[in-house]
Symmetry: D2
Subunit: 497 residues, 4 copies
């Protein structure tokens, strides 16, 4: 996963992008980069400048003089997710910047192409060279081979050929272009900001709306599935960006996992408040829960895994009360504020030092109580197992683990960094015949007194419906129902991991 | 403020100390250091090794080979709080390590001596040189001038001469010593851990018990006010450290602000759970609150400033419900996980970018609602003012700011890094004759609909009482009642800030 | 200018390349990189790994763990010359590494293509994208578009299309390829080394033979002009690399400036000892010199600008003695050993601090003496001017500046980093009608008592002749006689500088 | 060994000191620091600021903003020599800066105290603590214990108590003080510079006069043995620094090894040109040499080990010619310009990679010739042995190693970083009864055809004589004649090394 950001017609495009990327840091912690478009008075055209590096945004842009050097009037930026192995290379840091027939191009991309292997093979057969291992490089190659004159038409032609998930923002000479795949897998929002001094209008594009908030920009609308939006100086003057639309897909496939876990709760994703949907997940989880207060026991205590499941836990409590099965919300786990990329683990004390470094228990609110621990999801299960071990040290009466989403049973081929099927917790047990037995095995493995996942129905009841759509979400990781054929991507997955 | 940590008889003392300091990071982010005691087989005695640097613990100890180099069987460590100006110098990074008549000594100190200026003058008159500007350097000078033979007796003599607040841990050749001033201003706890492989016992000393949790050590008891505790190989063999006691002070003076804000909620401070006391503060604040639900308004919504006032806010809600003035707890503010020391603020967009970089609002839970914002304290007021401005963007019906402690009206001379009196928010208005008028001025300045501080009585009702003590806490910052005369320190304060 | 190095069938290819690049550091100080070919047992094929960075070789490879990570059995490396402006970007650091139809390719290149502008335009018209601004990227694009199957044949086809100067080494899957343009502008030598432990044979390719010496390899022969040499495991087994040859050029054009200044004196360049040729230059300069000892003056003292003109100065003295015009050789200038890339110049004391930081005078051997200062060349003239000013502080009787090459009157389009014509010292005065007048103007500008350049004839008499060649050298910078048409390159030059 | 520098009444004292230390880099490469005296307008007194770090001067002061921060009107600086083991610690980086009874003090010291162990014991008995392991810390302790009021008088009292070698420069509040021990072991020179813009006079103190040249300052005179020189604003106004003198020693003991090897040839040391004395050493070596040209052999070729023995080699050749035993001077060894601290040696190819990284041979001038290799001294012999092995690869007829100083047979206790007696090459063989036999063993070990050391008499004939002194030099390393009793220091040496 990744975060993308773009701004057009700002006095401080690099600074805006820095703050935007900073607020999107949760979407990718491995590397960050900014490409700026600046008008060069001598050459009388727009040229690009860039600064990229491995690490958090605040680390890559630690030196303030970088911003003086960058200047410009527009910029795009990218946060890359932490991946492992060969992919962790400097040549993969985005945005990619290049020159081609029509001038300069830079691209920042969030998503995963499902026909990348085929396209790559076809392109290399035509004599194309690839300097990075990322999917993203395919798109400028396709655009550069188009016979169209305008970058937006070249990109249109390119995107007709690619399949899969993409939300991207590009600089093409003196234009900014934003595009989202027809299925709408990944979010992409459009915002604007009026400079308080000059009254000039800047357009902004970002993966999540929290990036607008930090620079006091305003959320206008989403880039629609299949939309290719062009922002140039004319668009600014008319206050009207123009759009092309790719042929519509037969269905939509918004990533439901953005709502479940990935996006920030203060963002609007797919036009809706993430916080509100997480609350719904918690409420529906409460409705489905069978945990009852036992006579003689202390009050049922709902604890969230901070901060990602805070809102779901609150929703759970609220609904429980409504259902007259009262439970109290408690901060039973404390999250260390200083966890970061630089964290080393010398002389490993125990296998659970990673969990201990991130969380600690508040003994007073856990001791002797029946705990309903609300978490958003379980991927590999190793963290959950160690977290439960940590909580046990506070001697709770019981731990009932409630997950505000269904079991993850399938890998993602559209950008979410799930492991291969083999590494998913659910895989350990999937020779079993029925779900109940499988969940009992997982419960035992993790070491809790009971384990409850939200049902698929509960999940679907929690998310907004989009009028006129038969299918609005991608739920493949939970259901195995893949919106786009994945044979190509699967093989990739197997080879790379 | 600072954090101190020490461990004796461990196979991995530097690693233990690293994790301990990591969990105490909130007590000081400017610099960190570790001194290790290692037995040198050639010289047949214990020698010290050290590694120190500016920055967070995880930054200073980024290179794992440091731990291989350090080795040893005992270690002490120190986190220094971020201070400003001349004090931010490398020569002030603790622990201080030195050689003197009786061998090697290293010291890590949390606190502030109130007669440091006088002692410094007296010592320099005797020909002593000072290589750092910190108070701490005075103590080894006094110890080195003692005619006693044993380091612990030298330290005893030294501590008879100093006044003020100190919790410290030292290495003296092959011994570890922990000491706490007779008033007991700052916390200091004793723990132990049995090595799961060798069965060997290690003793641990730390500012807060959360440092025990991270390395799976067990909290035994506090170092008592006035206690000087000696841990050596004999103490380990007998499982019995030995103690000296300084002459008792006429009263105790535990820092009540540790409970209000400074310590981690998962720690036990002065033998009691911080989380529980913060909850009491919230409960008492609810009892004193006069905010009532207004007919036609949405439900009263309690929002905490994450994470420091989370528990107080929960306590507030719990008590409100009990009082039949129901209010709902909401996560209305989101704290950015990536805030850190390295954060720069290029091209300052607006004066409130610092607050925006740390917090964002969750619009859905704030819009049109009457908000009770619970915060732990207000020092300068600048952050509070900007936070309120940010919350206003979500269009709440009203903001009622509730502070879970009384107004801070006086500087601290015992280690808390409050600004001078002039810089405290309360000072702006203290020519006014009565408190009500002053609070109205503050309310107006911060820009809230109403402002409520917890009363002194409410504060005292929230904290544990210690049997047989007439006075247990230092409340000077709230009350001006200074346990130790401060003429010397005051002057220092004026000159340094 | 740049340095290239490659090694095939070594146990320590990255280390070998590190030492090779270290000894070729004078050919490029701005950036360095190594690409290693390693057999991946899981994927059952050779994969590439790389490490690149800005700075000196010893800075880029400061961390020894890099070598553990790199591993492999073959490697190529590159030193990039310090250039200014937009070119100083991380995306230009070589070797370039990429994947294409036939697998993996990496390339390290020394030289300059003269039809790069045309080729770039043609390629972009075909839809090719360029990610760097360097000429080098053109070559893999051309190779990738070839329909040939074998990388060496693809490269052959590519090189048929490019014009200009190139000496390059490539990794293509499990092969190493070295190539040199038909004119032979830049040097490229072939060496070998037998592993003292295993007896295995490694082949080595390097810009200069000094790179063989440092790793105790043996110089076999030059890569011939127009030769494309293939080294693979078969070549190693047979002790016989195979070669293709590009169509021969009508003449050769070995860069004579490599002999004059650029190469290390301990290298063999174009099969001949650089030291010996520099001595010839000094001897011929002595023969042409008209400086006579004046009665009453102290002995004529020959001083070199260390270390580049040391050998020429020795040759000058030797020949002078033979001609019975005795002169003594003296170390009148001391070169600071610590001059390096990291050198900053705070608070510029005077315009000549750069020269003062690099050289100091030995007053005793200069005072009151007539000095013959031997230098190899003058490019811009600013350093020479300041150096003379420095020497004047020692109060010599006179300074006779003797240059062991003719005046540089024309820019280089084949890789030497000369400035544009406008910036050459000779340009300042080239409206003058005859050379004598021009040299008088230069003498005055630099501030010496007399100025003597070596004649073109003297230069040609100093360098070896190659049998059967009508023209063996490129002397364009001195003569304006460009071996390859330069219209394309000229324009480039004008635009970039 | 170390380099010291100080400047008083400059507009750019930190920059001056940077350049001074840069030119003194050869005196110490391990660490560097600068302390600046700046007038603080608010506190109305001079305060000190500092910047110190491990590494070369250009590395420690890589960030130009440091100079903006430092400011001030006076500064002192220090280069520390690379030492091994425990001493390589950050707490030992000079200048030391401290506060004491009379205000602020900073000290930069070159030398070694011979009674440091006794003084340290006495001081610790009095309750003094030591924060570094360096001798230097003793001096401010002694000064601070003086009852005198003026820093110069305090320092006078302190220096009466110390024995050994010291050349030092101090800042004491608004004064600069320079001091040199009565024996005059280490050099220390006084210079001045008139600001070209303001006409203001600055005084400068430096270990060597090459530090004056780089900033265009003028050498006035040496700080005399036993002199303590005070420079303050009054001294500047009167153009007359004032001096105190310590009681004279019965003899002088200028370090003769400064002339032989350590100092830069362009410096004046002890009032005389180092270059000239090195030439004398070469001349006297020629007079003592018995190598004759053999019939049928090529011309005798004199090669220096660059750059340290260049001048001696030239003197050797000059004298040989005068003696009608002609020999030609050749640059047979090339010194790599990029050798530096950062140089790592991955995957050690052979034991001689260190020598190969620093030097390479010029085959043409060595092949088949009888070589007289002139070197300044042999300490351990390991480098010489490997260098000879390298030269042998060029197949010289013979190698006659000539050393321009006598055998080093004794360790230095006055600051030169020689190894212990056990590690000196001469020690390997000193059970032998006569010198000839010993030299034969060394010759064999190093692997040369003949080995010749300059005689003690030859050495003494080469250095200037000082009128009225019975003994002017310390020759202890050659002769064992120690000017100051060394029992205390010896023990130190044994223990530390």
């Amino acid at each position: 996963m990744c975060g993308v950001f773009g701004v057009f017609n700002s006095k401080t495009p690099a600074e805006d992008t820095f703050y935007g990327l900073y607020s999107l840091q949760h979407r990718g912690q491995e590397a960050a980069g900014i490409v700026v478009a600046e008008y060069n008075k001598i050459k009388k055209k727009t040229l690009f400048k860039q600064h990229k590096g491995m690490g958090l945004v605040a680390e890559v842009f630690r030196d303030e003089t970088v911003f003086e050097r960058l200047g410009g009037y527009a910029a795009i930026g990218h946060n890359r997710y932490s991946t492992t192995g060969s992919a962790s290379s400097a040549s993969n840091i985005q945005p990619f910047s290049l020159t081609y027939r029509s001038g300069s191009l830079a691209i920042a991309h969030n998503g995963n192409l499902t026909n990348s292997r085929t396209l790559r093979r076809e392109l290399t057969e035509l004599g194309v060279i690839f300097q990075a291992s990322s999917d993203t490089e395919i798109i400028p190659h396709l655009a550069a081979r188009s016979r169209e004159k305008e970058p937006i038409h070249q990109l249109y032609e390119a995107l007709l050929q690619v399949q899969g998930a993409y939300s991207m923002v590009l600089l093409a000479n003196n234009q900014m272009i934003a595009a989202r795949d027809p299925y709408g897998f990944r979010p992409l929002a459009l915002g604007k900001k009026v400079d308080p001094l000059t009254g000039e209008l800047a357009y902004i594009v970002a993966s999540e709306t929290c990036a607008f908030d930090i620079i006091q920009a305003e959320y206008i609308r989403d880039i629609e599935p299949g939309e290719i939006l062009l922002i140039d100086h004319l668009a600014v003057a008319n206050e009207k960006p123009t759009s092309l639309f790719l042929p519509p897909s037969e269905r939509k496939a918004r990533c439901i996992f953005e709502y479940v876990y990935f996006a920030r709760p203060d963002s609007f994703i797919f036009k809706h408040s993430v916080d509100k949907i997480r609350r719904n997940l918690g409420k529906n989880l409460a409705r489905e829960s069978s945990i009852q207060h036992q006579p003689g026991e202390k009050e049922l205590t709902v604890v969230s895994v901070p901060d990602s499941s805070n809102t779901a836990a609150l929703g759970f409590v609220r609904e429980s009360i409504k259902m007259e099965r009262p439970a109290r919300f408690e901060h039973g786990l404390i999250r260390n504020h200083y966890v970061g990329r630089t964290f080393i683990q010398p002389g490993i004390h125990s296998r659970d030092i990673k969990v201990r470094s991130k969380y600690n228990i508040v003994r007073g609110v856990l001791l002797d109580r029946p705990i309903i621990l609300v978490d958003d999801s379980i991927v590999r299960g190793t963290t959950a197992k160690m977290l439960i071990k940590l909580i046990r040290e506070a001697d709770p009466k019981a731990i009932h683990l409630h997950i505000s989403s269904p079991p993850i049973t399938n890998p993602c081929f559209y950008g979410m960094d799930f492991p291969t099927k083999r590494q998913l917790l659910t895989h350990m047990f999937d020779s079993l015949d029925n779900d109940e037995e499988e969940i009992e095995k997982i419960r035992e493995y993790i070491g809790v007194d009971s384990l409850k996942y939200l049902s698929m129905q509960g999940l679907m009841n929690s998310v907004p419906s989009f009028e006129g759509e038969t299918c609005s979400y991608c739920t493949a990781c939970f259901s195995g129902d893949y919106p786009i054929e994945v044979s190509d991507a699967t093989t990739d997955k197997d080879e790379n991991d």
